[in-house]
Amino acid sequence: MATEEHSEGGLVFHPFDQFNVYPLFGDGPVHWYTITNVTLWLGLAALLIIAVFVIGSSGRKLIPSRIQSVGELAYDFIYKMVEDVAGHDGAKYFPVVMTLFLFILSANMLGLLPMSFTTTSHIAVTAVLGFGVFLFVTLLGLFKHGFGFLGLFWMKDAPLALRPVIAIIEVISYFVRPVTHSIRLAGNIMAGHAVIKVFAGFAAIAAISPAAIVAITAMYGLEVLVAFIQAYVFTMLTCVYLKDALHPGH
């Protein structure tokens, strides 16, 4: 199908081909243990994080080198976020939040490399993250407060008659959280990459290729911004959910 269109030489739109999952070595079905391009780009994200945060910080210099400074800035940035949003007792879960932020940020950024594979554009990946956060936070809240955690849904300062209605809305919104949390990330990243690919397809037509290339450049700049903002938003919402688990009272 794809080869047919290639041979035609005209407009070729495969904006979703970049999201295909395939085995790196050999052919065959994709088992759960198969080493695929997903494995490769997840591994590269892990290596990038280890390079910056483990190797980069090994100097422990009082006056930091550039790479050490990057690690320290990220550390301070996320630590402040966790402390400001989730409160002082939320700082205990800082490594979890930091892991999420760094993974999403580096996966988004690596995905912006030409010819790369963007792991965070897959709903399977972001759903694990989103539902993982949801489960973690819910279990933490139940473990910490037991039945009192359900107070999260019972608005004490609302009129009594409205409380059951609000409680239903709160419960629904609570259980929608992991869905929105994961779809927001995957949707943003996927849409941006697909749009860039569509513009790239237009670049094949000589008359509009300059405009297409300008559009790709502009979209790319926007996508760099989106890559950071989505990582930030995901982390920030995680902190908010963490706050709800630690302090369920409104």
Partner: protein, 181 residues
């Protein structure tokens, strides 16, 4: 080449199924993605939790401590400077007072010495004056006697020259009478 063909085959295969939707909704790939994601997250989490975060936190804490210590040290030094300045000013004032005292004492000593010396000189002068007065009296007495002698001698000679002959006792009595008169 072999890999590209296999890739293409996989891509076309995926494309075939993706015709219905997107590769994101290819559920047969989910276990693979989830498995490797969990592995990756675990690796990242452990690397951060066990190595990177304690290290960076330690570095930041050390830096914060160093800065605080340096600021405290600077504050201390500043206080020391103020104290030293005060001590210097105090020392200067007290030294000035001491110097004034010493000058006054020296002046008093000199005055005492001077008074003593003046008194001594006065006493010496008085003694010398008394002595001199005694000498003058002596000399004056000596002169009286000398005058009597000379007068006696002169009277004897005069009497002899006038052709008289007078005995010494008479002459002496006459001269003594005359001198008394």
């Amino acid at each position: 080449m072999a890999t590209t063909t296999t890739t293409e085959a996989a891509v076309t295969g995926a494309h075939e199924t993706a015709k219905a939707g997107m590769p994101q909704l290819e559920f047969s790939h989910f276990p693979n993605q989830i498995f490797w994601l969990v592995v990756t997250l675990l690796v990242i989490f452990l690397a951060l939790k066990l190595i990177a975060l304690p290290r960076i936190g330690g570095t930041l804490a050390t830096r914060r401590g160093t800065i605080t210590n340096d600021l405290a040290a600077a504050e201390e030094l500043k206080l020391k400077v103020v104290a030293a300045e005060k001590a210097y000013a105090d020392a200067l004032t007290s030294a000035r007072a001491e110097a004034g005292k010493i000058a006054a004492a020296a002046k008093a000593d000199i005055q005492a010495d001077l008074n003593k010396a003046i008194a001594k000189a006065d006493a010496q002068i008085a003694a010398k004056a008394t002595e001199s007065a005694g000498r003058i009296d002596e000399i004056r007495a000596g002169a009286q006697e000398a005058i009597a002698e000379v007068a006696k001698d002169t009277a004897k000679e005069l009497v002899a020259a006038l052709g008289g002959k007078a005995d010494a006792r008479t002459i002496t009595a006459a001269v003594t009478a005359r001198l008394k008169g």
